[in-house]
Symmetry: C2
Subunit: 413 residues, 2 copies
């Protein structure tokens, strides 16, 4: 398995500012790895508003079940995240492990177990020894500091080749607020699957229901529009916390997602979610090229997204991109198999700015040399106009390379 940083990694990392109301610490609990941190504790000084979206898998991990149950209260005092073991498909032992972890965290932080949120990523099917957390969480709570985002992102990595962080500022009623986020994803540990975890915190003062609306709306065109290999983890977790510390600066609490004062915050949040989601794709296993697929002219937006994902998940399209081949025939195939309305004779397809097909056949003006130049780039755009309606969607994926197969098939050999 390659440990080199993905060639698509960001060229620079942002300075992550401290954010009022949240402190973090990491520790090496020895869950699986040696010589690296594998537990993150995130502590909120006062109960933070909380929102979350989780995997749609019918076989979710025990921590996902746990978070869903606690989300109703709307208040969070701490988050415990571990790497090295996903606590997924661990039966009754998995539930017991989440309960023990929550109990340890609640004791360390001094809150109720209903205010604890959990996430785990790593090996599947192995019982998680949650007693290992009991020994470290108390000390972590004491050590926790605000200026610790980069280290937090590192502790939750599995086979990610770089830590994923992002920060934005916005204003709510004239008060400046900050949003920080970390993610991990596209990694793989035997015998596990790619899992996406992301934790976003703001010092804005926003009630839980409004926060949930913002997050649920924001995830559609960001985290729910990226795909590495079409496989959905049992553990995908994206949580958003609002510490409310901006109230000290006079920010009046937001109680509804329809509040007009949210326009700047909403834009900044969505931008941050997109940044984190694209960082996950850029760390896609074996990825050498980033692909942005835009579909226009579909019957409606949902149809456009289904077509775009059909293209982005097609092994034949993804191997063609890996081979730097502007193979629009495979794009036609992927449009056709999506099941959505399409009329062969109205389709137009572009790679980069080059229109390669129009009116259901090869563009007579299409330049092979121009197209080849486009396909050699690191970032490829594919655009398809269906020619039927107003529906549009954009999704992101990476190419499918021999390295992907090696990473996912070779480790036992």
């Amino acid at each position: 398995m390659s440990v080199a940083v993905s060639p698509l990694a960001p060229k620079s990392y942002p300075d992550m500012p401290a954010l009022r109301g949240v402190r973090m610490a990491t520790a090496a609990a020895g869950i699986k790895y040696k010589n690296r941190t594998d537990v993150l504790l995130m502590v909120f000084d006062k109960p933070a508003s909380v929102a979350g979206v989780f995997t749609k898998s019918k076989c979710p991990s025990a921590p996902v079940d746990f978070c869903r149950a606690n989300l109703g209260s709307g208040a969070a005092r701490a988050v415990v995240v571990n790497s090295g073991n996903a606590n997924a498909f661990t039966g009754v032992k998995g539930k017991a492990a989440t309960e023990l972890t929550a109990k340890s965290a609640a004791a360390a932080v001094g809150c109720s177990e209903g205010e604890i949120f959990l996430a785990s990523t790593g090996v599947i099917g192995e019982p998680l020894d949650a007693s290992k957390f009991a020994g470290v969480l108390g000390d972590m709570n004491v050590r926790a500091e605000a200026d610790f985002w980069q280290e937090a992102a590192k502790a939750i990595m599995t086979t990610d080749t770089y830590p994923k962080v992002s920060t934005r500022t916005a204003e709510i009623g004239g008060v400046i607020v900050t949003i920080n986020g970390i993610s991990k994803g596209a990694g793989m540990i035997a015998p596990d699957m790619a899992t996406m975890l992301s934790f976003v915190v703001t010092d804005a003062d926003i009630e839980p229901a409004a926060l949930q609306s913002l997050l649920s709306a924001g995830v559609g065109p960001t985290f729910n529009s990226v795909t590495v290999d079409s496989d959905t983890s049992t553990s995908d977790t994206l949580m958003l916390f609002a510490t409310g510390a901006a109230a000290e600066d006079g920010q009046v609490k937001v109680t509804s997602a329809d509040d007009e004062r949210l326009s700047s915050f909403r834009a900044a949040l969505n931008d941050l979610l997109k940044d984190l989601a694209l960082q996950v794709v850029r760390d896609g296993e074996g990825a050498r090229k980033m692909v942005e697929v835009t579909v226009t002219g579909a019957e409606n937006d949902a149809a456009a997204k289904k077509i775009a994902l059909s293209i982005a998940n097609s092994p034949l399209v993804k191997t063609a991109v890996a081979g730097e081949d502007a193979n629009w025939g495979r794009v036609v195939m992927a449009v056709g198999k999506s099941g959505e309305m399409a009329d062969r004779d109205r389709l137009a397809i572009w790679f980069g700015g080059v229109r390669v097909a129009v009116n259901g056949e090869r563009d007579p003006d299409y330049s092979e040399a121009e197209t080849t130049a486009v396909m050699r780039l690191e970032d490829i755009t594919v655009k398809v106009d269906i020619g039927l309606g107003q529906g549009t969607a954009t999704v992101w994926t990476c190419d499918l390379t021999k390295e992907y197969v090696a990473i996912n098939g070779d480790y036992r050999s």
Copy 2:
């Protein structure tokens, strides 16, 4: 691109008997290839009953449109199949090419254009020069012979590594009838996609509507239960012809698919369709292992099939099989992402005969050595019991190897 015969190819080929009422010839029309046959003409001495099933793609090829239009008449006098050019996404030129081909074939055979059926496989988006057929079809009709099945299968190959043939016998009311079939599939030509074509002929005397019912029912557990890479061709075509020559032996014409005399024929047809479908998978691009996925205990049969296909199409499952890794965590993931009802804590999973997981966790009696031995085999079975209902399904796929990526991504490099 490798030209070696797939390691999963059948160890022997059946002797294909001549079948009364149908003759075949092949020719090298120079559509794309040099030094090989690329056109097949199949001629029925008298109008044969015809049935067909076609790609569900919303962007079908011109020949698929043509066949669908002619199917209503229920009668076939000739089939023209070419390899080297798919006549797909060729706009109005594509329709013109099918019309010209049909005209040439009708003139050669002496029938109406409504009795001609067409299929094309190969490059997509390139106009097909149908005038090349005009020069060869007349001669082919004269040369056509009954004992020619193996050669027929060869002429329609693209990057198939072996010709695919199958034969069965059955009885209808005490009269012995024969069913012969040929297929091509899992091949790939730049810039094309895997396309499955199959032509099955019987000397039984069966009316078109009954024939269509038999074929539509037979395709579900056979051709519609195999997947190489989840990508659906624009050109998939499976046709069944009945010459009716068995009437000479006293077979009384079958007019309904509910006719009890069809039980032997139905079983033989389904067995032949399964044989051909599995031959396609065994020639899957880069395939080194054949995988049979069986799901039991699902809510219903449709749910079982959706779960089975979710497993069979998962890149993570397929790369695990390539790596000889009994990675049941990825199977859980694929069950979970299918969207069908599943209860994590009732799942049980077997590789070969070895139960690796039960009641939502690793089987305590699971033997790593036994499982490893299973995964080293060429034919792997994966079984999942959902534990909820009576729904069952079996589908077939192959592993996902670096050779798949090489075949589909390397040819321009």
